[in-house]
Symmetry: C2
DNA sequence: CGATGTACATAGAATTTCTATGTATAGGAA
DNA sequence: TTCCTATACATAGAAATTCTATGTACATCG
């Protein structure tokens, strides 16, 4: 997979995943990995800074939680503002697809 | 339009446009602008460096041309290697769309 | 008791794209 | 004629995103 094209989808997908239910970072990474059949494999160095940025922007909130095993996790919830941002990003994504596909189709068969 | 998502599509679209016919930089920018009904407006500071990079990588070749009016333009042609790269990038784009839409759909209706 | 998996984090590098600026000419408007 | 706009290319530096590499720490399984 061309990693160049992946850029910008991270935020969209994090918000989409958190709209299902609250998740912690590691869970987000493994969920997107399995949901995309391994097409997306986010590095921790990309994911955690993105989560911090989304939290700083008020789109998600994180709370420390302790599992039965005594392990600590930071569970993120999407905020109302986060849901608005998700809606907007989804619309942008739809527009982007349409615009790119329009150019590709116009090229098709020519030359 | 969310400019974050646009990243990575520049190379794909330049190659796609040049697969139609040879074009010069300014023409590429105005064509993509009109083809996408203004959804994409590449800055010259993004376009020209990208063209130089594609040329350095052997995916396109540029030749200076002079118009009747005496104006100079650099007309770019796609190379065989450029066509291969275009095919590959188009496949990646299709995969990316599928993967992202799969995640978005799985989130739909939940929570 | 060591390896692996879980779980978070940051520093620095690499890459992409944008902003700002510069040069130069053609053609129409004032 | 002179100025403004559109055409046409270019680069330097900044900003943003993502990756690589590294570090910490604990649980569990073999």
């Amino acid at each position: 997979m061309d990693t160049e094209l992946l850029k910008g989808t991270l935020t969209l997908l994090i918000l989409s995943l958190l709209s299902r239910k609250p998740m912690y970072g590691y869970e987000i990474a493994s969920t997107v990995h399995s949901d995309t059949s391994g097409a997306f494999t986010w590095r921790e160095g990309s994911l955690y800074p993105s989560l911090h940025k989304l939290e700083a922007n008020g789109l998600i909130t994180g709370e420390w939680e302790e599992t039965d095993g005594g392990r600590k996790r930071k569970v993120y919830h999407i905020t109302p503002r986060g849901r608005e941002a998700l809606d907007e990003k989804q619309r942008s994504w739809t527009e982007l697809q349409a615009a790119v596909n329009c150019v590709l189709e116009k090229s098709h068969g020519q030359a």
